[in-house]
C-alpha cells in the first residue's frame, strides 16, 4: 500500500499535501482500497469554511457510504471536478488525479495533530492485525 513521504495523514485516512499556505486533500490508498470501487464523491463547495476533524465530504462505494473529515481548518479554494463523472480516479490515483480539493490553511500549526508518513504506516499496520 502506497504511503507518500511528504504528506500528512489523519486517523480517518485523509491525506494533506502542504504547499505554502494551502494544502491539497484526499483519501489514502489504504482508505480507497478498503472502501472498494468508489462510485460517488460529494465534495464541499469552493469558499466553504472547514474545521479540522469536521465533516467535509462523502465517498460512496458499491458497498457503503463513508464520511471524510477535514485535515485542517480553512477555506476551500477549489475542488477536483473530475470526480463527479470519474469517481474511480480515487481508486486509480488516490494521491494525485483522485485528490478531493485544495484548501487555504487558517492555522498551519494544526499539522501537529496529524501523522507523518512513518507514523501513518505504523498506524495502518496496527489496523491490519
Amino acid at each position: 500500500m502506497d504511503i507518500l513521504k511528504d504528506l500528512f495523514y489523519t486517523k480517518d485516512h485523509e491525506w494533506a499535501r502542504i504547499e505554502g499556505n494551502s494544502a491539497y486533500v484526499g483519501i489514502t490508498e489504504y482508505a480507497a482500497h478498503s472502501l472498494g470501487d468508489i462510485t460517488f464523491v460529494e465534495l464541499p463547495k469552493p469558499g466553504e469554511a472547514l474545521k479540522q476533524e469536521s465533516y467535509c465530504a462523502t465517498v460512496e462505494s458499491v458497498k457503503a457510504a463513508s464520511e471524510v473529515y477535514a485535515p485542517f481548518s480553512g477555506k476551500v479554494i477549489s475542488v477536483n471536478s473530475q470526480l463527479s463523472s470519474n469517481p474511480e480516479l480515487v481508486n486509480q490515483s488516490p494521491y494525485d488525479k483522485g485528490y478531493f480539493f485544495l484548501m487555504e490553511l487558517s492555522d498551519p500549526a494544526e499539522k501537529a495533530r496529524l501523522m507523518d508518513a512513518e507514523s501513518y504506516r505504523k498506524y495502518t499496520e496496527g489496523l491490519s492485525k
Binding site: 472498494g36 470501487d37 462510485t39 460517488f40 462523502t58 460512496e60 458499491v62 458497498k63 457503503a64 457510504a65 469517481p87 474511480e88 481508486n91
Partner: protein, 370 residues
C-alpha cells in the same frame, strides 16, 4: 482478519485465499465478496462470463409422490405437472402467507426432486418440510455433500460446452440434466441463475468442487466473481434477495410476485393470501432509480413529499446504468414515473419509481450469443 469459528467455509475456501479474495460473513458462511473489484467483476459477467462459489446454498433431495406426500401443497407453484428435467421457482409460505423462503424445485423423476434453498434458511426450511411431508416420503439435506458453482455470462455456454460437452449447450431456460465430467463423475447442470445473463448452475460432489473450479477458470475466458457483484447483478434485474426483499412479514402479493403462485391448487398460506387479495396489500415492493450516482441503501426511509411511506430493502450503485437503484416496501400505490425520495435523515436522494427489471437487455434468453 480474526476468524469466527462459527462461520462455515465452502470447499473452495483455499481457492479464494489463493486468489486474494476479500471475505466476509454471509448467511452463516465466510464468503468471497470480491477478487479484483465489484465493478470489474460485474462488467465481466455482463460481457464475458464469471464463476461464483455458491456452495453456501442448501440442497434437499426428496423422494415423494407430489400429491399424497404433501410436497405440492408446500410450494406455491404447481409441481405435479412439471416435466422431468425442469425447474420451477416458487415460495414456501407459513399459514399467514409470509414468505419462509424462495426456492427452486428440480424434478428429477416421477417421485424424485431436488429443492435448492437459501443458505440462512436451510435448517428452518428443513424443519418446515419435515413437519409437512407425509411419513412415506424421504427428505435428505445433502447441502454438506453437494457443491454449487454458478457459471454466468454471455460466454458461459461456449465454456460449458467445452468442459461438459455439446449436449449441455442445448439446455433450455429453467431445465436441467445430469452429465458426466472428469470421466465418470456425475454432475447436475441447470440453465438457471441470479444475474440476468445466460448462465448455468452446476451441482457436483464437494470433493470435485476445486477441480471443477480450476477447470472452468483455466481457459482464461471465465473469471472468479464474488457475492458483491452477484448482488449488483441481481438487483439490476429486480430479483429479490431473501432476508432483505423477502421475509416472513411479507407475502408474494406484497412482493409483487404472484406470478409464482398457482391459485388453481392448494398450498400452505393460500387462505391468508386470498384474504389479503380481497382486502388489499398493506405495502408493495417497488423499484426505484436515482437521477444521480448516489446509492439508496438498505434501511433508508422511502418518503413521498417528505412523508415517510416505506423502507429500502436493497440499494446500490448500478454499474450498468451509472445511477443508484433500489427496491423497498411502500404503503400506497406508486406507478412507474412516481417521484419519491430515499434517505437516512442526513441525506435525501430523489428517486423515480420504475418497472422491473432495471436492466432490460441482457443475454438471458441466449439469443445472439455463441
Amino acid at each position: 482478519m480474526l476468524e469466527d469459528p462459527k462461520l462455515q467455509k465452502t470447499p473452495l475456501f483455499q481457492q479464494h485465499q489463493k486468489l486474494g479474495a476479500g471475505l466476509a460473513p454471509f448467511g452463516g458462511w465466510l464468503m468471497p465478496i470480491q477478487y479484483q473489484g465489484i465493478l470489474a467483476e460485474h462488467a465481466h459477467t455482463r460481457q464475458e462470463a464469471s464463476l461464483f462459489d455458491i456452495c453456501h446454498m442448501g440442497e434437499f433431495m426428496i423422494k415423494a409422490d407430489p400429491v399424497s406426500s404433501g410436497l405440492d401443497r408446500l410450494v406455491t407453484q404447481e409441481i405435479v405437472s412439471m416435466p422431468f428435467g425442469s425447474c420451477r421457482y416458487g415460495f414456501l409460505l407459513n399459514n399467514e402467507a409470509g414468505i419462509l423462503d424462495d426456492l427452486i424445485v428440480y424434478r428429477i423423476g416421477l417421485s424424485d426432486w431436488m429443492v435448492v434453498v437459501n443458505a440462512a434458511t436451510v435448517s428452518g426450511d428443513f424443519r418446515h418440510l419435515k413437519e409437512n411431508l407425509s411419513g412415506g416420503s424421504v427428505l435428505e439435506d445433502v447441502s454438506g455433500r453437494m457443491a454449487k458453482l454458478d457459471l454466468q455470462g454471455p460466454r458461459s455456454r461456449e465454456v460449458l460446452e467445452g468442459i461438459v460437452g455439446a449436449r449441455a449447450g442445448e439446455l433450455k431456460y429453467y431445465t436441467f440434466s445430469e452429465f458426466k465430467i472428469f470421466g465418470s463423475q456425475s454432475c447436475i447442470v441447470s440453465r438457471t441463475g441470479y444475474t440476468g445473463e445466460l448462465g448455468y448452475e452446476i451441482y457436483i460432489a464437494v470433493n470435485y468442487a476445486e477441480r471443477l473450479w480450476e477447470t472452468l477458470l483455466s481457459g482464461g475466458i471465465v473469471k472468479p466473481a464474488g457475492l458483491g457483484c452477484r448482488d449488483t447483478l441481481r438487483l439490476e434485474m429486480g430479483y429479490p434477495l431473501y432476508g432483505h426483499d423477502l421475509d416472513e412479514k411479507h407475502t408474494p402479493l406484497d412482493a409483487g410476485l404472484l406470478k409464482f403462485v398457482d391459485f388453481s391448487k392448494d398450498f400452505i398460506g393460500r387462505d391468508a393470501l386470498e384474504k389479503e387479495q380481497r382486502e388489499g396489500a398493506r405495502e408493495s415492493l417497488i423499484c426505484f432509480q436515482a437521477d444521480s450516482r448516489r446509492s439508496p441503501r438498505h434501511g433508508f426511509t422511502i418518503s413521498d413529499g417528505g412523508r415517510p411511506v416505506g423502507r429500502v430493502t436493497s440499494g446500490s450503485f448500478s454499474p450498468s446504468l451509472g445511477t443508484g437503484i433500489g427496491m423497498g416496501y411502500a404503503a400506497g400505490n406508486y406507478d412507474p414515473g412516481a417521484l419519491l425520495s430515499v434517505g437516512d435523515g442526513k441525506l435525501e436522494i430523489p428517486v423515480r419509481v420504475v418497472k422491473r427489471p432495471f436492466l432490460k437487455k441482457t443475454s438471458l434468453n441466449g439469443i445472439g450469443v455463441k
